[in-house]
């Protein structure tokens, strides 16, 4: 469910980046306050572990297809929310750069969607609430499944909202939600089960690892929990608003959404003075003034999309092909130039 650059608008992408960067700085500050030197190599190696772990796949029960774990909640359980958030962000940075999962602008959104919810909602508010000292395996399993599922649901909801707000997709909100939420519920259940299994198994093999790490992670004093609770309340209001909106549109469902999309046709053309002047200039200097084919007063009856007329679409096509050819020539030119330089 990695968000992609191509689905984001600059405003939404920028806002998500601001949120994620702010949280990274906040987490780093929190860690510095009560720094345990041991944590630095541990964080790095655990990040690499998440990566390596994602290479080991397993068969998803009842489906026959295979999957791997995301590992966000596992990290939060092992090293606490602040360190976990930083590690998740790091893993996503490497994924964005080396595997091009999403892209650089979407990275902010991805860090938010996959980092904030397990680290600051799923772990402190659900997992820690259920799992106390010496919890039974059943309790751990229940807590892990619930917290992972909630985290992933919020993450998937964020993907939907970010895409919708960016206005790139035509998918109606309700259809989009139906596409995203149930599948992430299934993923959440499996991931939660696997996470619980790992925590329990590691505890039986080397209890000191989990206990040790439990000492490291007791970094969160009461004050910060309050902040988290406030953030949670804000989020609850936002999601509540969204869901009530969703509910009110339910009666007509799909049709309503489509009507809404068509009822307000978008007018994406930029009113740009200079382009206008240029085109005026073009018209004046044109050999065939009406190069955009005779219009028969169509402009008045068809206001839906100003740029639409066969002439410009044709020149757009020709221009596009021309420019692409120029780009290729440019590339070849540089290549030749470089080889030439190497020889000298």
């Amino acid at each position: 469910m990695h968000m992609a650059d191509a689905l984001l608008s600059p405003a939404v992408g920028g806002a998500m980046w601001a949120g994620s960067l702010g949280t990274i700085i906040y987490c780093a500050k929190k860690l510095r306050e009560k720094m345990d030197d041991k944590l630095i190599p541990l964080m790095g190696v655990l990040g690499a572990f998440i990566f390596a772990g994602q290479m080991i796949n397993f068969t998803i029960p009842m489906t026959g297809s295979s999957g791997h774990i995301g590992g966000g909640m596992l990290l939060a359980i092992l090293v606490g929310p602040y360190a976990a958030f930083l590690v998740i962000a790091s893993v996503l940075i490497i994924q964005a750069l080396f595997f091009a999962d999403g892209g650089l602008l979407a990275l902010g959104a991805n860090i938010w969607n996959l980092g904030i919810y397990p680290a600051f909602i799923g772990y402190p508010l659900i997992y820690r609430f259920i799992v106390r000292q010496n919890a039974s395996p059943q309790r751990i399993t229940f807590a892990a499944i619930l917290s992972v599922a909630v985290g992933l649901q919020l993450g998937a909801l964020s993907v939907v909202l970010e895409t919708k707000l960016s206005g790139i997709t035509e998918l109606p909100l309700s259809t989009f939600l139906v596409l995203m939420q149930p599948i992430h519920l299934a993923i959440g259940l499996i991931e939660g089960f696997a996470t619980a299994g790992i925590v329990i198994y590691v505890r039986t093999l080397r209890p000191d690892i989990v206990d040790d790490l439990e000492g490291v992670k007791s970094l969160s004093p009461g004050a910060s929990l309050k902040k988290v609770l406030v953030a949670m309340a804000v989020l609850a209001v936002i999601t509540g608003g969204v869901f009530s909106w969703f509910a009110s549109t339910r009666p007509d469902g799909l049709e309503w959404s489509i009507e809404k999309i068509y009822g307000k046709p978008e007018v994406p053309q930029r009113a740009n003075q200079i382009t206008e002047n240029l085109s005026k200039f073009q018209e004046k200097t044109a050999i065939l003034p009406d190069y955009s084919l005779p219009s028969k007063g169509e402009e008045d009856t068809k206001p839906s999309w100003p740029a639409v007329d066969p002439g410009t679409s044709l020149s757009g096509l020709i221009g596009g092909i021309m420019v692409l050819t120029l780009v290729v020539l440019f590339g070849i030119g540089i290549k030749v130039l470089r080889k030439h330089k190497e020889k000298m």
């Binding site: 091009a100 650089l104 221009g319 590339g331």
Partner: protein, 269 residues
């Protein structure tokens, strides 16, 4: 097996980033900032715009050719990755059937236009991200991040992550091979086995971190890593940034494609 392939690719990009060309020598900070601005410009185009996006291929093509990066390596990655954008984009032709263009009498709906717009944006942004790492080493990027005031602890553990990524991937690879050698069909890939495998990998990783920490302590680690600072802005870096950003701005605000196309169209008649 896909695993080997992906692992190989990761190392391959690392190898590419060790080249020494014009673009490799540009300050990583400049490359990060320019690439980011490039992506912002690309995604700022409206959803029906296709042809005006074309000139933006200049930037990735420049990185590719001037950085001496094999075209195939990047193309393969771009084709393989992230189906999410396409998965969401393919719904556009279904829901948006307004015919808004009829080139040569063929009706083209807004949905198809926006779908292709998404694909082109996708190719532009994704190839730029991969090219960025191919022409800048990862340690270089980390150093740039540190100089750009990203918290030090974050950068240091990021460097650690990268350093041990290859080691742990190797370890995971061996485990997967061992499992493969001992399992028949889908047996051995159950979630129970998976949990044990990955738990062992986790324990090994933590133990490795402990050893690393002790090794660091014995070499005088006191909670801070001092990095050799090599970055300094050169005249060329600033020129590169200024020229590219001006280009993006011009291409964004003046439709070069339309101008060229209209002129050609006129000449043809």
């Amino acid at each position: 097996m896909t695993f080997d392939l992906e692992f190989f690719n990761l190392g391959y990009l690392d190898t590419l980033s060790n080249k020494d060309t014009l673009v490799h020598r540009i300050d990583p900070r400049i490359k990060i900032i320019v690439s980011f601005i490039f992506i912002l410009f690309v995604v700022s185009f409206q959803k029906y715009q296709i042809s005006s996006l074309m000139p933006f291929f200049l930037y990735p093509v420049f990185l590719l050719t001037a950085g001496d990066i094999p075209f195939k390596a990047i193309a393969k990655k771009v084709i393989v990755v992230s189906p999410f954008a396409l998965f969401i984009g393919i719904f556009n032709p279904i829901f948006d059937t307004n015919v808004i263009l009829t080139p040569f009498g063929i009706p083209v709906s807004g949905g198809w236009l926006s779908f292709f717009s998404i694909i082109i944006k996708f190719v532009l942004t994704v190839s730029t991200a991969i090219l960025l790492i191919a022409v800048t080493s990862f340690p270089g990027i980390c150093e740039a991040l540190e100089r750009m005031k990203v918290p030090k602890i974050f950068v240091i553990q990021l460097l650690f992550l990268y350093r041990y990524l290859f080691v742990l991937l190797d370890e995971a690879l061996r485990m997967v091979r061992a499992r493969e050698a001992r399992s028949f069909g889908s047996r051995g890939k159950e979630i129970r086995t998976f949990i044990r495998l990955i738990s062992v990998l986790l324990i090994r990783s933590v133990e490795r971190a402990e050893r690393i920490y002790r090794a660091m302590l014995s070499r005088g680690f006191r909670g801070e890593i001092r990095v050799l600072r090599r970055l300094h802005l050169r005249y060329f870096d600033i020129v590169f940034a200024a020229v590219s950003i001006t280009m993006f701005y011009i291409l964004r605000n003046y439709d070069a494609v339309d101008l060229i196309g209209a002129t050609l169209n006129r000449l043809l008649r």
